[in-house]
Amino acid sequence: MESCNAPPPSASKPGFLGFGLGLRSQHYNDILTGNPAVDWFEIISENFMVPGGQPLQILDQICERYPVVMHGVSMSIASTAPLDFEYLKAVRTLAHRVRPKWISDHLCWTGVHGINLHDLLPIPYTYEALDHIAARVHKVQEVLGRPLTLENVSSYVAFAQQDMTEWEFLSELTRRTGCYLLFDVNNVYVSARNHGFDPIEFLNGIPREPVVQFHLAGHEDHGDYVIDTHDHDICDDVFNLYRAAVERFGAVSTMIERDDHIPPLADVVAELDRARDIAADVLEHFPTKWTPVRRRKCDKTKSYSADPIPSDRNVL
């Protein structure tokens, strides 16, 4: 077992941003011409890791108006293939442009042998994997010059030999590397259903300090199993788990991921308001200086010409 516990590049823990949405091309026009009640946006990093053109122009306009965080899908932090430093440099270049509050990716692997399966593949929760991933997180944090934020993924298979639970693995990884956690509430729900563990036990097994963000999303329920599709409204069970997460972790920046069957912006904003209401209800009973943000004022009203925009490719 590796004993390395080097601190991450110096940075203070990001503060609470309020309630945000995943930035999706279908909503660009409404965001830039309207004033949606959204406190911040999360971008899929890879959608903007392109040479130029309109995507980056729109991104610049969004960044002028809203706090933005970067969320990647291709870092493959758990892969046994060598780290892709060209990819990491591209992430860093985009971060210079966006000035994100934090940079996140997933605790998973996406491929080996030069192939990318463009999926978030599960890992065995072993000390071997922990040593391997912790070493890579240190390297990534050196390149990015800041702590990395890692998200727990949904999984459909689990490995027979495991040295610890997923929540123990995440906790130990943050302790060793100083990385932050993006706690995906829906993913915990999906994996709990698929593997038969108690999501509250998962939640209570995660330390409070490293958690900087919550994800909320919908899924596809097949009865015997659940698939994390991000193409449905958020179900009551996930909202209930979110309530429990807020009770444990307090005021944590929260956002909704919607990647398919994307409804009008107003509908997603209404769903986001439900999360606001839950957090406001819970936090009334907890000591916090946070006051719920209802609407972020936007002073700039630049016009936006709606040229054809290709669909977001990198969504998982």
């Binding site: 890879e46 959608n47 890791m49 392109v50 040479p51 130029g52 053109g53 309109q54 995507p55 980056l56 122009q57 291709s74 493959s76 892969s79 046994t80 892709d84 060209e86 990819y87 591209a90 692997w109 491929g111 080996v112 042998h113 030069g114 192939i115 990318n116 399966l117 463009h118 999926d119 593949l121 890992i123 065995p124 072993t126 071997e128 994997a129 391997h132 459909y156 298979v157 689990a158 490995f159 027979a160 030999q161 495991q162 259903r193 698929n194 593997h195 038969g196 097949h222 009865g223 015997d224 199993y225 698939i227 010409s305 040229d307 054809p308 290709p310 669909s311 490719r313 990198n314 998982l316």
Partner: protein
């Protein structure tokens, strides 16, 4: 005994890809399916479903996700081929060209060559060309930025400086020489109308794709204009462009035509600014991750 992490990832990827492995036995080579059962034996039974079915979620998601990418990137080709034939093409492409980039943005890039080289699609060369047009437009959309060399800049050039004027295509420019009426087909599909009957052309149709402000454009060039433009890639002087226009017997006539072409390119935003003192400083495209 659990395989180590590297072996496990190799095994799981092979199962998802449904890859065959090869083994040498003396002088002969045997292909066999990577044993799915070996992986299954290392998985813990899920809460309610079958382990096999849960593993299939990854196998199926891999293909359906990439098929969705192809459908999004090549929507007009899909409409032209129809659902069944496009799915056939997509399935063949996904097996033949696993993604080798971190960004799925570039996954579709080899589809034109795949269609051109793979039966039955190779029997209908307009399919590959429709794909080539569609991807060129997508490339132009998010290609590198560069300050455009405008018509006003062109008209301000002193006559003495014309010969050494650098002609540099904008990074968004793509050139295609089509052997079929693929452009007419693509335009009809894009407009939601019935595409014309496919046909081979007697001579290539010279197409240029570029980005004007934020909008991708495509138009046809004459053989003379295409020859002149190709001479300018990646960067040449105006004199080089004129010298390449060998169909003109009179160089003054060639220069006159080249001025007209240049004015048209500058007005359309097909050219990029360049420092004339740094002949090799034409704008470079960023390497996609």
């Amino acid at each position: 005994m659990m395989a180590n992490l590297a072996a496990l990832q190799h095994q799981m990827q092979s199962v998802i890809l449904r890859r065959t492995a090869t083994a040498q036995h003396g002088g002969s080579t045997t292909s066999y399916q990577v044993p799915r059962d070996d992986l299954l034996s290392q998985l813990r039974p899920p809460a309610h479903a079958q382990t096999d079915a849960m593993l299939d979620i990854y196998c199926n998601a891999y293909r359906s996700r990439l098929a969705e990418v192809l459908e999004a990137d090549l929507a007009n080709l899909s409409a032209y081929l129809g659902k069944a034939l496009f799915e056939h093409a997509a399935a063949g492409y996904i097996e033949a060209h696993p993604s080798d980039r971190q960004n799925v943005r570039w996954f579709s890039r080899n589809m034109p060559d795949f269609l051109a080289a793979t039966a039955p699609f190779s029997n209908w060369p307009q399919m590959a060309e429709v794909a080539r047009i569609e991807l060129a437009l997508a490339d132009a959309f998010d290609s590198a930025n560069a300050e455009t060399f405008s018509l006003a800049m062109l008209t301000s050039i002193s006559p003495d400086d014309w010969a050494t004027l650098m002609v540099v295509p904008h990074p968004s420019v793509r050139r295609i020489d089509a052997l079929t009426n693929a452009l007419d087909i693509w335009i009809a599909i894009d407009a939601g109308t019935e595409p014309p009957q496919a046909k081979r052309l007697n001579s290539p149709q010279h197409l240029i794709v570029w980005r004007e402000a934020t909008t991708p454009r495509i138009r046809v060039m004459s053989i003379d204009e295409a020859t002149a433009f190709d001479a300018a890639q990646p960067a040449s002087t105006f004199a080089d462009v004129v010298a390449a226009m060998t169909s003109f017997e009179d160089q003054r006539e060639a220069a006159k035509a080249a001025v007209g072409f240049l004015a048209g390119w500058a007005a359309a935003g097909m050219l990029a600014c360049v420092d004339t003192e740094a002949a090799n400083s034409h704008p470079k495209q960023e390497t996609p991750a």
